[in-house]
Symmetry: C2
Subunit: 345 residues, 2 copies
């Protein structure tokens, strides 16, 4: 049984990024579920461009990267073995550098795939493609398995028939929570998803995954969490993380901090999921990215403000450890003040 | 000099609601400033319908109501004096009941205008129309003068070159703050306006007024105030109020509470503007209106969520007195714990 069994439509491998019949198809998360469309890539460079264009986001680029290596292997079908290796080296390099902020994880995936090409015994291009695709599936399966452990621990924190508030899109974690809640017989849990402007990951992605998996889900606008946390008796708040510094500061989609602070006000626990960083000991080495402010001034591509009105668009915010109840990892739940323990074996 | 002098475009009487040449023109705030369009009303019933359809909002309906009475007077131009009085009585009744939640203030305006018809000495329809229009202008001028006193006190609380965060659209208060800041020589004050989903009053209306009046203004999405309050060193937060109970609870556009709580976290003062209620002593007698949740699921009319996803849409939230630094009224600044003093003379 594949590890994406019984997960929502958009978490199934084929609907993230998938090589088949000589192309990689990537679900266009920029517009899903308003429209369900795939970007079809005929070369690995098309995949690199799709990643750069944010066709997929969150965990999506990692599967897109390994599937791009499968497509690159397919592109070598009329090449000599020597030319093939040169081409694959270049592909691994290009894929690694698709996006600056994720290059270390992208590098690992692309170069591990390259190792398959170099070390496996293959005779035909079909065999090569099959080997690299097996690697890609194995790689994403390991990631899903790690996330499953996180989702299971989080699901166990949810009271019977309880209510969870989310933030942005925690990707596979959301699906794994839902799948495990069902296993626990807690299928009447309710979810509340702030919409997460300007890209609406909460309304479009998180709510779709939860709805697909059969749970009750309500979207709210981003000005409502403070009131709704109390009014709808939310039991816990959870978010993923783009970065957790070793001293317990959480960098995540803007809005996470304010919901965490409001949970603190209302005495509701906040659990973050993710992996502590060993390279960023404190926030001193982390820079918060500012994005194109035009996106704040627009809704679905239409500008809503008068000319001359400006905007701020900090992509992320920082939640201090004092506002976090626990860091849920595949190795267990850690206090945000004790993340060194994560690295002890 | 008219009291709306030097105010932003949309605060000038002609661009709120205005009788001229036999029609009332109302600026369509539902779409401004994406498009600058007026709804043209040929009968007072068209004005009632425009008020019901939310063409204008906040303080707009009050001027629309008095101008509707001017239009009603104009509609009696071929009637006998007796028929005219019957017609005007009906108009006052219909205008009073345009919207349930504002009927007491609407009643006062409509019936005061009716008194003009009944008590003033007029011979021709032109004279009658002129008298009622003079009443309408006088009525709105008194309201603007009251608000000017509030705006002046608020402007005096702003540090030199300081930064103000707003919420939703405090209407004329915003214009009066800006006008008085200029008088004080504090014209480099910066404003930050959360967009205020789902209707975007912050992005569309507040930011337009401030921009029009020549101040630096940045819009942010509603998930950013917590982070931006600290990052951009906001000096004070202010909002209007739909209701202030006598025991100091503030009912206002959803989002006010959470920004107030985040100000408390960051030790930034929150000033509310408005009039304490003598009829609602506590929140026990106040019901928070829930609106059509479809509006939360849509952006500029396009639904962004999967079928099956639901939404909550509490129109207002409640900020407790512990999160409010002062209630600014035309009579001065009161502690939210001492609103009885407002009613002492």
């Amino acid at each position: 049984m594949r590890i994406d069994h019984d997960l929502a439509f958009m978490l199934q491998f084929e609907n993230v990024a998938w090589f088949e019949d000589g192309v990689v198809k990537i679900l266009d998360r920029r517009i899903y579920p308003i429209r369900t469309e795939y970007v079809v890539c005929e070369t690995y460079k098309d995949v690199v461009k799709a990643i750069q264009d944010m066709v997929t986001q969150s965990g999506g680029p990692y599967l897109a990267a390994s599937m791009a290596m499968v497509l690159a292997a397919y592109q070598t079908r009329d090449m000599s073995r020597e030319d093939c290796l040169v081409f694959m080296e270049q592909a691994a390099y290009d894929i690694t550098h698709a996006r600056p902020t994720t290059s270390s994880r992208m590098r690992k995936i692309a170069y591990d795939a390259l190792d398959v090409v170099k070390t496996q015994m293959w005779n035909t291009n079909d065999e090569l493609v099959e080997f690299v695709k097996a690697f890609a599936i194995d790689e994403v399966s390991q990631r899903y398995a790690r996330i499953e452990k996180i989702g299971m621990q989080l699901a166990e924190k949810v009271p019977h028939d309880g209510t969870i508030m989310t933030q942005c899109f925690a990707e596979t974690v959301v699906g794994m929570i839902c799948r495990h809640l069902k296993t626990l017989g807690n299928e009447n849990v309710k979810f509340i998803c702030p919409e997460t402007r300007p890209y609406l990951q909460g309304a479009r992605l998180t709510a779709s995954v939860i709805c697909d998996m059969g749970f009750d889900v309500h979207v709210i606008t981003d000005n409502m969490p403070g009131y709704i946390l109390k009014e709808k008796k939310v039991d816990l708040f959870t978010s993923a993380s783009d970065m957790i510094t070793l001293d317990g500061h959480i960098v995540n989609k803007v809005g996470t901090f304010q919901i965490a602070a409001l949970c603190h006000y209302h005495k509701i626990p906040y659990y973050v999921t993710g992996t502590p960083s060993n390279t960023h000991k404190t926030m001193d080495t982390v820079k918060i990215e500012e994005r194109n402010p035009e996106e704040v001034l627009s809704h679905l591509g239409t500008k809503v403000t008068m000319d001359g009105v400006q905007a701020y668009y900090p992509a992320f915010d920082v939640t201090p450890p004092s506002l976090c109840s626990g860091v849920i990892t595949e190795k267990g739940i850690f206090s945000p003040y004790d993340l060194e323990s994560y690295f002890k074996d």
